[in-house]
């Protein structure tokens, strides 16, 4: 597994953990079950552990002669960036237009929702960045 693929794998795992973490927050808030209250903390700790492990995983080379980066990696990364770019725009468009339409243009929303929306958008964009990389390497081997 080369550096780009390792990076994409690490980004995918961390993104999934962070996405689950962000989904468990409203669950813990809505339902007063003790197990659900601990879940966000568990997933946050797990994502930090994954971040730490990914650094070790990322540094370890398959062989000393393994190149860091080649032309194929560059093309694969370019396609993945394009996919994440398009996803970002779709998400920003949906995030900005859905509340506007649901509330019939005259509603109000708490400002605390904006950073949450931004965080979820960021995690989804990172997930979409890593998936095409893994899919393209998978198809080539």
């Amino acid at each position: 597994m080369n550096k780009t693929r390792k990076g994409a794998m690490a980004v995918m795992v961390i993104s999934i953990l962070l996405l689950v973490f962000s989904m468990t927050i409203p669950l813990a808030w809505l339902y007063k079950v003790p197990v659900l209250k601990i879940l966000p903390l568990v997933f946050l700790v797990l994502s930090y552990i994954a971040m730490g492990l990914s650094i070790i995983f990322f540094r370890k080379k398959q062989s000393p002669s393994e190149p860091d980066f080649d032309e194929r990696d560059r093309i694969i990364k370019r396609k993945a960036i394009l996919a994440s770019y398009i996803t970002l725009w779709i998400l920003v468009f949906l995030g900005c237009s859905i509340p506007f339409m649901i509330t019939d243009q005259c509603g109000i929303m708490p400002v605390s929702l904006l950073p949450i929306a931004l965080f979820i958008m960021f995690v989804i964009v990172m997930l979409v960045y890593s998936l095409p990389i893994l899919m393209q390497y998978g198809r080539g081997e």
Binding site: L88, F100, I108, P110, V111, S112, P115, L118
Partner: protein, 142 residues
């Protein structure tokens, strides 16, 4: 000056003009009629739409090769710069109300399309500026 540079110039000029005109209109209207009505000055942002006519105004070159590897690379880098900056604009637009108004405040949903519009304008502006920087602002280095 090639076609990409001409289109980029048109976009830079129209977007800059739109932002300057709308800012001036909002400032003048704010003094005259107060805040909610002063936002009507945002209508001048529509001037930026003329930038979209670039591909129609500047016809494709009649040379056999209109786009080479370097042009593709320049366009790719410009798109990346636009991507990064637009994401930054969205991030700032989402975080600023939270810090300025406080976590318990609320805002009108009419601000949301403005965030989208601002990010879209930033994409076109930064993309055009990045193209002009890479080619050079004038005929040289074409």
């Amino acid at each position: 000056m090639n076609r990409s540079q001409k289109i980029a110039w048109l976009l830079v000029v129209t977007i800059s003009l739109a932002v300057i005109l709308s800012t001036a209109a909002i400032a003048v209207l704010y003094v005259k009629v107060g805040m909610p009505k002063a936002l009507a000055g945002l209508g001048f942002i529509g001037v930026a739409g003329f930038g979209g006519l670039g591909p129609l105004v500047f016809k494709k070159d009649k040379r056999p090769v209109t786009c080479d590897e370097r042009d593709k690379l320049i366009n790719h880098r410009a798109a990346l710069a636009a991507f990064g900056t637009s994401y930054l604009v969205v991030a700032v637009a989402c975080m600023a109300p939270f810090y300025i108004l406080g976590p318990h405040a609320s805002i009108s949903v009419t601000w949301l399309p403005m965030i989208f519009g601002g990010a879209a304008l930033t994409v076109f502006f930064v993309h055009s500026v990045a193209i002009l920087i890479q080619y050079g602002w004038r005929n040289k280095n074409e």
